[in-house]
């Protein structure tokens, strides 16, 4: 393998890892704070993508410039967080925090199934494609290979900004500290006057919005079609489990590990590209069942 191929595989791996990380971030945040593995995260991802495509399509047909697609991604993510994340936590999850984990898993899985059918009902079964945002940023050519600025620069930049932003939010702001305190010990937090219900609701909305944002950011690069959420939940769960559930920085490193592993596989031995993320997961979990960065006590499932 020469240096050029090494660098090319590196670029591809980083671009892929960025997207996976953004989705995994919401999943691991929700788990870290609420101790719930939210299978419906996959649907929220898909709905974020569908919403972006529909909104962008509508705005473009009204004559707006393609650059409006970017704020619309944020709008879609917030809509997913508030309109779906909020009611899911408030109406369903709130009732089952003290129930067995299996039940929690089944409830979020049921929500996932319901939302999958809702997507079909609203958007039908034909694939959508809306790449205005990606096209508006143009391409760069490196080593004779053309990349889109969107995938090579924007996605990793957004992923990095989210990682740093979330770290800052959790450690330096009052709300973030309230979330951390509730994560540490819910009862103790409540006894000193923290409204744990509100903290959980907020966390879930933020987590759901991150899923929606992942979908929104993915939408210009891929076909939006039924079933896309299922794929993403499996992959982001692999990232989150390998990192250790609830580990935010760990998820970033693992996403990178899995992204790079996959892209090097495509260059070296394409037949194994599908296998690599799960191979990494199995190897890590064999050695460290709690995940790369997890502590044994944090494990729940």
């Amino acid at each position: 393998m020469n240096l050029t191929i090494f660098v090319l595989a590196l670029f591809d791996g980083i671009a892929y890892a960025a997207l996976v990380f953004i989705v995994a971030l919401g999943l691991t945040l929700i788990f870290g704070v609420m101790r719930i593995l939210n299978v419906a995260h996959g649907s929220l991802y898909a709905i974020g993508a569908y919403a972006t495509v529909s909104l962008t399509g509508a705005f473009l047909s009204m004559g707006f410039a393609p650059v409006f697609a970017f704020p619309l991604m944020l709008v879609s993510a917030i809509l997913v967080g508030v309109l779906l994340g909020g009611p899911i936590e408030w109406l369903l999850l709130r009732r089952i925090y003290d129930k067995p984990e299996v039940l929690q898993l089944l409830v979020t899985f049921a929500v996932f199934m319901i939302l999958e059918d809702v997507q079909r009902l609203v958007w039908g079964s034909q694939p959508y494609f809306q790449a205005a945002a990606l096209q508006s940023l143009g391409n760069v050519t490196l080593f004779g290979v053309t990349y889109t600025v969107y995938q090579l620069i924007l996605l990793p930049a957004v992923a990095l900004a989210l990682l740093l932003g979330l770290r800052f939010f959790l450690r330096r702001t009052v709300i973030g500290k309230l979330i951390l305190a509730t994560t540490e010990d819910r009862e103790a937090a409540q006894s000193i006057g923290i409204d744990a219900d509100k903290v959980f609701l907020l966390t879930f909305i933020v987590g759901a919005a991150l899923a929606g944002l992942g979908g929104a950011l993915a939408s210009p690069t891929t076909s939006i079609l039924p079933g896309m959420g299922a794929d993403m939940i499996v992959l982001s769960f692999a990232v989150v489990a390998t990192a250790g559930l609830g580990q935010i920085e760990g998820a970033a490193l693992t996403a990178l590990l899995i992204g790079l592993g996959r892209s090097f596989a495509v260059y070296v031995w394409p037949e194994t590209a599908v296998l690599v993320p799960y191979l990494i997961m199995v190897l890590v979990l064999l050695v460290r069942p709690e995940g790369l960065f997890g502590s044994p006590a944090a494990r729940k499932i």
Partner: protein
Amino acid sequence: MNRLLITSALCAALPMAALAADKPDALKVGMTTFLTGPASVFGVPARDAAEILVEDINANGGINGVPVEVTFIDEGAGAEALTSEFRRLVETGEAEVMFASISSGNCQTLAPLAEDLEVPNFMWDCGTQKIFEENDYTYVFRTQANAAPEMVAAVAYLLKTKPDFKTIAVVNQDYAWGRDSWDIFSTTLKALKPDVEVVGEFFPKFGAPDFSTEISRLQALRPDVILSTSWGGDLDTFVQQASQRGLTNTSTFVLPLAESSLERLGSSLPAGHIVGARGDHYFLHPERRDDADFKAFMEKYEAKTGDVSVYPVFHASQAFAALQAAYEKAIADNGVDWPSKEQLVAAMDGLEFQGLGNPVKIREDNQGIEDQLMGTTVQTGDYPFATLENIMIFDGDELTTPVGEVSIDWVGGLDAAFLDGLTVSTFEN
């Protein structure tokens, strides 16, 4: 004396009664199609088409006065649910004839079941060539071509339009169709043009949302030709990402199933790439587009769905045309009001029928012989998506593996003379 006469008359009539059947209130057909899952890009258009076709048949008095009724079964529900639903429809008498199916895997499951249940079954869309090569069937027929002629047509068109290319890479979905179609395509290509070099073989997973890494790799490899037999969302994503990154400017794409994605791909599929249609299926079919029945159907379909017709629509039309032709032939051959199952099956042998494409013929091994249409994309501005130019329609007889031979061996034994001997009708657009 009178009683004796009546009894003997009845006895004389008995053999006839046993052979023919009573005219039913309706001819009930069960059709399996994907209403959910990724393959619903084929299944839903086929269902919409079936509804129009049945409406048309019934508006013209049905088949010998008997109206047709269709029940749809969702193939997306999984093989187990599909099998039990198929069995239930047949055993409760809710279907006299079955149309199954889109997925080759489902065809391989349902063909033996149809044979066991002794129900006439039309394989109306699935591609695997193996079914009639590995088994003999009495009740199972294919009202369309199979993977072998489809891939041979793609190779033939590629060699006729771009004879001097040197390198090829493949990006196919990682499941039976992706692998089998590449087997047939590459074997045919090596037989007809032995000096071609395969520089890359990629089989990303079925439903993969991202082909960026494969595209980077292909840009570094710079093959003359890139083949992809992918379909639906996978094909859309692959072509879109390739076009975004300029890969469509440096390599010629051969996309044997892209006729079904033309409208969705819009301007992303630029001019100069090779597109196939799994048969002579194209909403601007050069030999059929001026025919009144064709035009009327296309208008109805567009009015109903808002989209142009894609190949599963044509496949559905062939299944219903075969149904109508078979019943009419069986009725005429036997001089009955309504044929028995045996009479219907007998009528299928050598049956000729015409759906929306050119006429199709059922061969002695129950395989349909269907022409193949290939073309090159062009963005004319008449439609907001690519249409085809330099269209070639290949004669189905010459492309289809002879009876009793195994496709992969047959295509491996072809030589350059085969290419020159093909009967081709060429149309500018």
